[in-house]
Symmetry: D2
Subunit: 363 residues, 4 copies
């Protein structure tokens, strides 16, 4: 089972705390014979790296990934791939004044009640630093997906209530705030900057798409593609809602508006977001992920300490004014991990394919 593992066949097991020695993961279930492009892994990790602009936390991490196992002469061997990323820019002192109190909106209080002990430095295990491991692992998933032509992309759909209108995933790749819409970008930046200058933070929405996914991926009833995506997205720090396709708007529609009619050329619309009955239908898979505003703000807030005494929380340190921006890379990573797993699970679901692999039978 594993409390820190995700995935069935293509799976990750992550470890590490914000201010511990390292974060990392074991990527298991990677099929043998995959060319492992280390530079690509590092590049993916760099996309998530903090400290690249004023719109992000000023914690500056190299985030150099080391591969400890599972790759031989540049190719996956089918054995587990361990990835380790050292923590270098810990400033534990930033946290000494809050070591005994619970930051509002944070997991401090729940870790305390659950475990009776917590590594308070930077949120310990509850820190989004853990997501670096996911992003590194997802690079391997993406290399696998590429082998069958699947692509994954993401960007910022909204900051606060400023939404993208024209979606351009290529643009998002170069935007410092991962903005999907060049025209909305400036206003979105301003919203983040305004939050930052007022010692506050702001929420945002990420759009993720999986393109060229073959029809048939997703395992009903309890490993449905959309349910697994929801699980994956909601496991990301600060995510409070997930929708597939038209999602929460669908609830307002009539069936005749919401159904996607079918022609020889495919679906006439994509309200469903590419998934029907938990299984990919061949259309683009569309996911929106809603991030709350960073709970770490620099305004005084009421709270209690570990002894139950009321006090005021006044944070120092380095925090993202908006977690959605770098969060888009993480959401994209989780989509890739889910998709790789679904790809492998589906390998086993037809006798036809089993005969194809073992007996070389065509069809």
């Amino acid at each position: 089972m594993g409390f820190n593992s995700f995935g069935n066949i293509f799976s990750i097991t992550t470890f590490g705390e914000s201010h511990g020695k390292a974060v990392g993961c074991v990527v298991d279930g990677v099929p043998a014979g995959l060319k492992i492009d280390e530079e690509f892994i590092q590049n993916e990790l760099d996309r998530r790296k903090p400290g690249k602009s004023k719109f992000e936390t000023q914690r500056k991490e190299d985030d150099k990934v080391s591969i400890l196992s599972g790759v031989f002469e540049g190719v996956s061997t089918g054995t587990p791939i361990a990835l380790v990323i050292e923590n270098k820019s810990q400033k534990s002192n930033d946290y000494s004044n809050i070591k005994d109190l619970f930051r509002p909106g944070h997991a401090d209080i729940t870790y305390h009640y659950k475990y009776g002990i917590r590594d308070h430095r930077g949120g310990g295990r509850s820190s989004a630093r853990e997501t670096a491991a996911r992003v590194a692992a997802s690079a391997i998933a993406k290399l696998l997906l590429k082998e069958v032509g699947i692509d994954v992309k993401s960007g910022i759909y909204a900051i606060g209530d400023i939404k993208a209108k024209d979606i351009d995933f290529k643009y998002a790749k170069q935007s410092i705030i991962y903005a999907l819409d060049k025209n909305a970008e400036e206003e979105q930046k301003n919203a983040i900057e305004k939050a930052r200058l007022s010692h506050d933070s702001v929420g945002g929405v990420v759009l993720v798409k999986l393109g060229n996914v073959p029809a048939g991926l997703g395992e009903p009833i309890y490993e449905k593609f959309d349910a697994s995506l929801a699980n994956a997205m909601m496991s990301i720090n600060g995510v409070k809602a997930v929708e597939i396709g038209d999602g929460f708007n669908s609830a307002k529609l009539s069936g005749s508006q919401n159904n996607d009619e079918i022609t020889k050329k495919g679906f006439l619309s994509n309200h469903s977001g590419g998934i029907l009955g938990g299984i990919s239908n061949g259309d683009e898979i569309v996911i929106k992920v809603y991030f709350k505003p960073t709970p770490s703000i620099f305004k005084p807030q009421k709270t209690i300490d570990v002894n139950g005494n009321e006090t005021i929380c006044e944070l120092k340190g380095r925090h993202d004014p908006c977690i959605a921006t770098r969060g888009s890379v993480v959401a994209e990573a989780m989509a890739a991990l889910v998709c790789a797993d679904m790809l492998l699970l589906n390998m086993t679901r037809r006798v036809k394919n089993i005969k194809k692999v073992y007996l070389g039978v065509k069809g």
Copy 2:
């Protein structure tokens, strides 16, 4: 693993198709010594039963549950509890004219591509009939939750764009459409009736709450309480979005608006929906579940058949004009199943508790 299993310790494995002999499940991980109230299980199942009013499908099922194992002299023995519900009101003929075509908005096409074969009668395994098994199983989960004082409740928050304002879960229990707000009920009924009369359907939103949940439930990083709830909810037929607490709206807020400040008496607000860092914080857990409109409508729709030829889909048969209403019982069921599992998982997470159980050590 199991494609048809849900849960880690308290788990269900469901089986059955819409027009097969039976649907049912094996409930595993039920702790020994739980009084199993068969009448309660049947009552829960009756809440979900179709055909109770014109707002629901006219398929009339007895839905009598049989317990095949795991209960001895009215008490759980710790062994798996198998529950079987016979299908009695199948009218397979309703489906003969659509056996070779794909109903828009349905899983027909994805099952076809995935498996190369499908039981077309009533959607087969993709039918919401499978959820009867979940509801029966959840009754056992609820009996367990009651032992520690946790309660679970649900109701209709919105039909189309008609929302509840005053929430009354007791009222929902007696409302024929499971309405949470007596004052909105009539208008919500009208929306369903209007959809029905125009041979169409309408979406809706369900609100689920878990009350009196002890702080500390939920397993970071990959069995977070909220992520598991999202997974659970999105696994329900027709669900396209899930939010926890303020959910979608959180993404528009600033941190100072969204953080729940803490006092001796508890949290001053509950934007978080009772979960921080994936762990329950002792406050009420709040989930909203967004159902799309029933895809089965009686208007002609463009589609293709299994040979790829274009044709028109004209449905007959008996269908819910709004799946959200009975869906509320299913969403509540899934919340109970998740919570029971989290309750058991958390038993193992502290040395203190282990010594309490094995050595009788206090504290």
Copy 3:
């Protein structure tokens, strides 16, 4: 996870007690497109059926299997196949005198300590009656294995210390005690009969072979083929030891004796039992399974009751004088289940195969 589930992809979840309404299972992960021969399933179940001769318990069960789901027009649909076998010949009264005491060699005492409650009738869940469900499920596994040419066979290798010399699996199929060696059969029968007449029981050894298994099945490190077989076999009632290939004897040998040299035509010997490093090597897989004597004997034995008072256990009822005989069918069943699972898991382990299935790429 599931305490009552076995297997990763091809998995079973069993339920039922000796004297409850039924035993059965849900078989999950069966690939779509498999012809389900119901008669074959029933025949397999009949091989295990009690009461066929004086060498077996006189409990006479029809053991008629019903398929509740997952099969449409004679073919598997990829959805879970539920199998139910009613209990018809329960004589609960046989057990009234032992309801409050612990039968030596039985699980009565451990179930009592573990659960605080137990269904004492016929051993409840701890009865070997549960294995009927495994055998029924394994018939489906065998149908899958046949598709790629793998065969599974078993028989009695030893009763007490009377061993088979010449192994003939065909003969075992017709032998009333499943004897592998026609020449040893009479003496083996006598050993059972002697045990029976002296109100005692006797142990035995089962030999299972998997033939024509492709090289490459088995997942190191923790789903090794041999480790999974050991797990499977030891999960059978009364099994106390398992060996693969030369097994126990290997520990006495030198490397030069035990290594199997390799030529173009294959291995020159099969000390390894067809598995190296947890992976099948293409040679025959050879397993021996050691059953203890039936603990239910009709001699008075010292024991205690549930209140801790010393007393004498005097059993009545109907019991196998040797559980190994019918146990051979169960051991064979478990081998088939493990092999089917390994077959499916291995589908996902090479990029080459993934491209073969999704892109139709040859090689």
Copy 4:
């Protein structure tokens, strides 16, 4: 699931190859509040360390363990504990001459057929070097077991056909070959030395005991204590047979000989090896583990190369003349890991305990 994970709640995920950068593991499910004694972990690892005498491989490894996460101020936080052990004494050149051929008795050939690629250096992932990670992880399991008084011990029962008569686990701790019987030790040493000098190897048998295990551990039907132990032991490199209690001898006995009668003071014998129906009965748990002789011998052996050509395998390098000796530490480690997992699983199996933990109810 994970191909490289073991355990349900208390679980390990291992990684690393013989001649890669490092081996290691993520230990998940460790309850919070456990004092983590780093020195103890290192000491356990040192017990398994190679190169301590001529009876072992001359590969000399420091085997220094680093804890990367999950421990804060010396105490487990409930988050995953990552352990890494660098490989320092790789001599990859030793393997250059065998890079394209399959060593008899080794996993070279099966890895080749399974994955199409393999890290040939020292056997890569199939090397017993992986077991260093298990031993490190098991030290944490042992610290947990100690909290409830359970102890685990092991030693060499037999080398070749030279068996221990008097069992002394304390003696084994100091014996260079882990011998349980001081009087057999010399002869056992001679057997190893003889094998070594003749460029051969020899098999052996390990005895493991779990003492003071509470009655009730083990989850029927498919996480039985004995079945999990069998799985665990057979997953160790070179193990070909496992027995519990009287094990394979039980198969020769009658029920009246094999049953353990029960009195107020406990069982009058322990043929069962402390497990009945898959559940611990409170008596000592007794496991014997049969190791084959090291397949790496220095005699010429027939084999084929990766192109199927016949050739002669002539090994160089550093190998244990008997893998059973250091294997005893690994077998003990696996027993500890299984027991810790069973301890945690059983926490969830009674309503009584759930009320004890959540409501503080006594009983």
